[in-house]
Amino acid sequence: MSNFLELRNITKRFPGVVANDAVSLEVKAGEVLALLGENGAGKSTLISILYGLYRPEEGQILLEGKPVQIASPRHALQLGIGLVPQHPLLVSRHTVAENLALGSSGLFPAGRIAPKIEQLAAQYGLTVDPKAKISQLSPGEKQRVEILRSLLGGARVLILDEPTSVLTPQEAESLFAVMRNLREAGKSLIFISHKLEEVLSITDRIVVLRRGKVVGGLATKDATKQKLAELMVGRNVDFSRKRQPVQIGAPILEVSNLSAKNSRGLEALKNVSFTLAQGQVLGVAGVAGNGQSELIEVLAGLHPPSSGQVKFEGTDLEPNPAKRFEAGIAHIPEDRIHMGTVPTMTVAENLSLRQYSQAPLSNNGIRDLIALETNAKEKILEYTIATPSSQTPSRLLSGGNIQKVILARELGANAKLILAVHPTYGLDIGATDQVHSVLLERTKSGAAVLLVSEDLEELLSLSDQIAILYHGQLKGPFPVTEITREQIGLYMTGGAV
């Protein structure tokens, strides 16, 4: 097999960072290459270079042995390099055929391209109706449209940018089937991901990037999850169960027969009862939309229950989020950007949102900006928040660092109950690891954690007990040692065990 595409010593600098530092790699025809790396490792920059959005400062791109300059995305496709972007660039009101015909001239462009779409779709298993409107398609189908666009344009190498991040497990499986078909047909694929299981199951060869440099290249058959994670993060990553047995204290949260309606007035929680003790981690599993949001919002005081009781340290609480925070209930919300932070405010301000009006951040109703700054500096150090300064708007931070801002704000000395919803969703391995450590550290000093997650690995690795929400009803809690992954899966889909 010859090299179809080869990068030699590609270097790209941005003010203050070297995004790609002498990156070399090659892709052969009929091969799936994984490009692995954490957020900020330089994957996106490398894709942008291959797709003609950025020009590298140094280095060469060779296509079938000949040096090329890629001037624009259109030029990239003319050369045979297609990109399937993470977020599809499609006109949602137009049909599949209209989207794929965009750019061609003459009469009835959509009608003329439809047979070609159907032929390619049949050839590679990319089932999609050319007459369907994009707005009616699932994320997986939209992705197929993007793949079709590259194939129609004559792509011989396809770059798939985190293609599974928006897909259900079933959709991901069918994407992998398509990828295998494409490989059979002699196409080269570059698969960008940070999901190790996927990389190990679908690719032939793996190149790992860290801080802009290639830190490893190996055949997939020689790779293990452990080895890849170490290459990516640059240190040892522990995939074993993180939870150590702890001393369980007195009950801190007692929920009995709790029911609540959702925003559309439908019953979202039905007679939920459980008890959570100091130092305990209760994992709540379930498919999104089965009452998790309502449960957390009721406990955080954001949503009124329709019936039932919530006792915190043996007393009833006012349904007021600020008062509950003062009482010791911390909330790490689901939508970290819009619910967890004010994106346009600075890191320092976001860190102060819970207590900006109280001493020491305010004196007699006047904010103390020096105290604000001191508070921010302390938190930034304590939680190793990577931010250019405390005055940077939080929207400019990466997902992991935004999450750390939230943790730093919510987990004051006083936090006795931590409500954590999808706390590591979308974070890379390093950041996930840090969030987990912070949560577990808190349990040692007696805090209880209610952890809502869709990631079974995470739940099993952190929780003492697991409960499952299905259609608003809570199954369990079960001690984590007495329940299997299969049983949880069955409860999640409403099956009897």
Binding site: S44, I47, S48, L53, S72, P73, R74, H75, L89, L90, V91, S92, R93, H94, E98, N99, A101, L102, G103, S104, S105, G106, L107, F108, P109, A110
Partner: protein
């Protein structure tokens, strides 16, 4: 019977400038740019057409040239809007409003010498009406069945998707805005050399604004614009026909078109017509950096 026929003819006469201007605005907006300057471009077109048709005052001005000049001036005026909103990415609504005020002011100033002057070589109305209807049919076909129409629509819906395929979003938008300006110019020419062959300050009497509203009312469809324009033309005619005949003050009738615009827009909003607006309408395009 004769009265009804007369009413229909007058409705066509009022509807023609509406159709011409709204076809321009539809193409304009389908590319993602709102231009509230229609009224201003229309009156500039009206003045230009009159001035060219007037010639040396003996009625020897070339009428074809008058229409072409009105188109050119309309297109030229629209380029101010295009530059400000497409190249400089300023707010489209503010820029359009400014263009309307500029147009009305400039036309009022430069047109003083034509006030009350008769035009001997009047143009017939019917060719304008027929041309407008044919153009509506043609545009409907171009939008739905040609590659160019698809490109234009895509630029108005999701410019980033067109950009990544190497299509020049800004160039397409400049072209669409120029077309909108030219059509507003023709609509103005129709007023000053055909339907009311004369020049009076403010002679567009809000038709440009009605055309802008009409675009929303007809859901950005050139075909529906035909019916919509003549419906509004009929209302305009009624406003004049009923004045003085019944005991309602004429001011109420004069305000009718605007009141109707509000009512019609409210109705369009209530049945979700606003949802038919091109998705990128009013939004300047910036090439996204990854």
């Amino acid at each position: 019977m004769e009265e009804i026929l007369g009413a229909i003819l007058r409705a066509l006469s009022f509807g023609t400038p509406l159709l011409l201007a709204s076809l321009g605005a539809i193409i304009n907006e389908r590319s993602g740019v709102v231009n509230l300057g229609v009224e201003g471009m229309m009156i500039l077109g009206a003045l230009t057409a009159f001035a060219v048709a007037y010639g040396d005052g003996t009625g020897n001005g070339n009428l074809y040239l008058a229409v072409l000049a009105a188109m050119a001036v309309g297109a030229l005026a629209s380029m101010i809007h295009a530059f400000v909103t497409i190249t400089l990415r300023a707010n489209q609504f503010v820029s359009g409003l400014a263009l309307t005020m500029l147009g009305l002011g400039v036309a009022g100033l430069l047109g003083k010498r034509f006030e009350g002057v008769p035009l001997f070589n009047q143009a017939p109305e019917l060719p304008f009406t027929i041309a407008a209807v044919l153009l509506a049919l043609l545009l409907a076909f171009v939008l739905s069945a040609t590659g160019f129409g698809l490109t234009l629509r895509s630029v108005g819906e999701n410019p980033a998707a067109a950009d990544v395929l190497g299509l020049n979003v800004n160039l397409i938008r400049y072209g669409a805005v120029a077309f909108g300006g030219a059509m507003a110019g023709v609509a103005g020419a129709f007023l000053s050399i055909a339907s009311r062959p004369s020049w009076t300050d403010g002679m567009t009497v809000g038709l440009g604004w009605v055309a802008v509203a009409l675009v929303i009312f007809v859901g950005w469809s050139p075909l529906r614009a035909i019916a919509g324009s003549f419906f509004f033309g009929l209302l305009y005619y009624l406003q004049f026909a009923l004045q003085g005949k019944i005991g309602i003050p004429s001011e109420v009738f004069a305000a009718m078109p605007y009141i109707l615009v509000i009512v019609v827009l409210a109705l369009a909003g209530a049945r979700g017509q606003q949802g038919a607006a091109p998705e990128a309408l009013g939004k300047p395009f910036t090439r996204g950096e990854r």
